[in-house]
């Protein structure tokens, strides 16, 4: 049995939703970053799936670019987490609200 495009999209949608819920509900910065990665990878899955269906390699190249940028973003994010730990700040996104209006 071959796996059709709807299956890929379904998995992707489930992953995206899991990621989104993680971003919205969790308060630990580490978990939020993890959830963000899940969202990004679900999009990557969609890109690759459509790319296979169309037959070109554009989508796959794009997915690689997304991975590269995601890696850079994680570096910044984890760097922030490490910096916050060193200053013994509370690792809770709801407590980090000095930029409120």
């Amino acid at each position: 049995m071959s796996v059709g495009i709807p299956m890929f999209l379904g998995v992707s949608a489930i992953l995206f939703t899991i990621g989104l819920i993680g971003v919205l509900l969790r308060r630990s910065p580490l978990t939020v970053l993890l959830s963000l990665e899940i969202m990004l990878n679900s999009v990557n899955l969609t890109l690759v799936a459509f790319s296979r269906q169309v037959g070109g390699s554009d989508g796959q190249v794009f997915a690689l670019v997304v991975m590269g940028i995601a890696a850079a973003e994680v570096v910044v994010g984890l760097g922030l987490v490490v910096a916050m730990t060193r200053r013994s700040m509370v690792l809770d996104t709801d407590e980090l609200r000095t930029l409120n209006g």
């Binding site: 919205l24 509900l25 308060r27 609200r97 930029l99 209006g101």
Partner: protein
């Protein structure tokens, strides 16, 4: 050969970069030396480039090269180009050569200033900007150079930024030049709309497709730019105020860079101006009015640098007359000689100011001849060249312009001729009034107190300040010999190819006649000045308070241009602002407790501030809901 032009262009930029990055590690003297060495190298490269260009056959003396393309869309492209021909080569020589001497002079002049490195970085940047403008092969790059020159002049005029007057003068120069920049930019847009190209070669090749109206409007807009940069009526008011900068800056602005740009632009764009003869006539008229007005104002000024500044305006007006009459070579020739004698006069003034510990008012000078014989001698040479007395350089170049006016033999030509000769009379009067006030007469009490100890201590100035003056004096004295009517014709034949439609050139007999009359008029001017100012007498003051008081008042207030602009722009804006503040805000919003507009804005601000709660999760929720809503909307619409 083109490599040398690139090197000439790159060197001052390198200087700026080095001074900006390593300036703090250099000793203060080192900055000036570095900047001067860079200018020397640039001058060397420009000289070799000129020699190489001259060694080519005449029909190959126009080289273009593109470094890279900035912008391309369809057929349209803008690149970083150089356009190296006879005119560019000559301008490179003037900018780098005179610029180099001014840099050397600055080493001595700026000694002891705490900001020497910043000064020399700006100076190199000024030269770089001018070079970008001059070597450009398209109008967009020209505009970039044009803007950079304006910026550099702003930075240098306001160099002593602790002085309010200097900051004001810098702002004035910048704003006036911005008006010109806008005119120039709109002119370039218009040329692009009409012709679809902004490169010189493209514009020149298709200029004949323009109707006379189109060409005239484009040329008028280019002229606005030229008027602002060259300080001509009606955008001239910044130049006399620009004296607030250090004296070498004035020399650089007046001699090597900046004010010559307008003349260069018109000469460069001459194939376009050819199709706008009315604009050329307008240029002549502006030039004649400007040279008479500036000359007359210069007669009554008391600040040594301001007198020279108005003389620059007057001399640039001569150049405008020259290019307006299609005697492009004569205009550029005058630009060339003017660079030497004007830099010489400014440096001479700088030496005097130096010896008087910063004093610029001629009423506090007098009798400096005995204390500063070398400066006096060089100043006399510069003065004679400026007045246009026969064997000195200014005489040949000014008479080349007036000879061309005689040759044209139209109404415009005669206006230019008579106006130019009248201007020569005034030149003689104001130049030698300046010399008599500064170097002759009895020494003022201030000078008597300040100057002798200073001069006893370090002579007329350090050799770094004297040598550039000597070299410029040589140039001011002898460079006119390049173009002796009927004998040598280096200038006219060298510059002849830059205009495809031919140039106006007077016959030898017309030029000799003009030289004779011009010298005579100049000498009359000197005699008048000697009569009024050589000895202390009350004649000038009697005229000022007596029969000539209305004219004197007008001239002392610089013909009311500043007052005119104050009434036209400053007052209406102030009036509108106070109307809005006092009447609109206070009456229309009277129902609010304090100042109305502020209260309303603050109210709305406070009502949306709750959204900015600082919790990242809530922002993410807004994103998610927003995107979900948008996708739902697309789903429902079914597309």
């Amino acid at each position: 050969m083109t490599e040398l032009v690139w090197i000439t262009l790159a060197l001052p930029l390198l200087g700026v970069a080095l001074l900006a990055i390593f300036g703090n590690k250099l000793p203060a003297r080192g900055a000036g030396l570095l900047a001067s060495l860079i200018m020397l190298a640039a001058f060397g490269a420009a000289t070799v480039a000129l020699i190489l260009l001259a060694s080519k056959p005449e029909d190959q003396r126009q080289v273009t090269e593109t470094a890279w393309t900035w912008l391309s869309a369809g057929d349209f492209r803008v690149g970083f180009d150089i356009w190296f021909d006879q005119l560019t080569a000559l301008m490179l020589m003037v900018v780098t050569g005179v610029g180099f001497l001014i840099h050397i002079f600055s080493i001595g002049y700026m000694k002891g200033d705490t900001q020497e490195r910043r000064f020399f970085a700006y100076m190199n940047m000024f030269v770089f900007s001018m070079l970008v403008l001059v070597v450009s092969g398209n109008l967009v790059q020209l505009l970039i150079g044009w803007g950079l020159v304006g910026l550099s002049s702003y930075l240098l005029i306001g160099f002593w930024h602790h002085k309010t007057s200097a900051v004001k003068a810098a702002k004035k120069a910048f704003i006036m030049n911005a008006i010109g920049d806008v005119g120039l930019a709109i002119g370039i847009f218009l040329l692009f709309v009409d012709l679809g190209t902004v490169s010189y070669s493209g514009v020149f090749a298709s200029a004949d497709k323009l109707s006379e109206t189109q060409a005239s409007i484009a040329c008028l807009l280019l002229l606005v730019g030229a008027l602002a940069k060259s300080a001509q009526i009606p955008l001239h008011t910044w130049l006399p105020d620009a004296m607030e900068g250090p004296t070498p800056v004035s020399a650089l602005i007046h001699a090597a860079t900046m004010v010559t740009a307008g003349v260069y632009l018109i000469a460069r764009m001459n194939p376009l101006f050819f199709y706008a003869p009315k604009v050329l006539d307008l240029i002549v008229i502006i030039g004649v009015v400007g040279l008479l007005m500036a000359g007359a104002i210069a007669i009554v000024q008391t600040d040594i640098k301001r007198i020279i500044a108005f003389s620059t305006m007057s001399q640039i007006a001569y150049m405008f007359v020259g290019v307006g009459l299609s005697a492009y070579w004569a205009g550029i020739f005058h630009l060339f000689t003017h660079a030497f004698f004007k830099a010489l006069l400014f440096m001479g003034a700088g030496l005097v100011i130096h010896a008087l510990n910063g004093e610029q008012d001629t009423r506090n000078m007098g009798g400096m001849r005995k204390l500063m014989p070398k400066t006096y001698f060089c100043f006399i040479i510069g003065g004679l060249a400026l007045t246009g007395i026969f064997p000195f350089s200014g005489g040949f170049s000014k008479d080349a312009i007036l000879g061309a006016a005689l040759h044209v033999d139209s109404t415009i030509g005669w206006i230019a001729y008579v106006g130019g000769l009248l201007g020569a009379l005034m030149t003689g009067i104001y130049t030698f009034r300046l010399i008599f006030l500064v170097f002759h007469r009895r020494m003022s009490p201030y000078a008597e107190k300040v100057a002798p100890p200073l001069i006893k201590h370090h002579g007329e100035g350090p050799s770094s300040m004297l040598w550039p003056v000597y070299i410029l004096a040589l140039g001011a004295a002898f460079l006119g010999l390049l173009q002796i009517p009927g004998v040598t014709h280096v200038m006219s034949s060298w510059l002849e190819p830059i205009s495809p439609y031919g140039m106006v050139e007077a016959t030898a007999s017309q030029e000799w006649l003009t030289t004779l009359i011009g010298t005579l008029v100049g000498v009359i001017g000197i005699i008048v000045a000697a009569h009024l100012y050589l000895r202390e007498n009350d004649a000038p003051e009697r005229i000022r308070l007596g029969r000539g008081r209305l004219i004197a008042h007008a001239l002392e207030r610089r013909c009311y241009w500043d007052n005119l602009y104050e009434w036209m722009f400053e007052r209406p804006v102030q009036w509108a602002a106070s109307f809005l503040n006092r009447d609109v805000d206070a009456t229309a919003f009277r129902w609010l407790p304090t100042d109305g507009v502020g209260t309303i804005t603050a109210f709305f601000g406070r009502s949306v501030v709750v959204l900015q709660n600082g919790i990242v999760r809530s922002y993410a929720l807004v994103f998610a809901v927003g995107i979900a809503g948008f996708l739902l909307f697309l789903l429902v619409r079914g597309t």
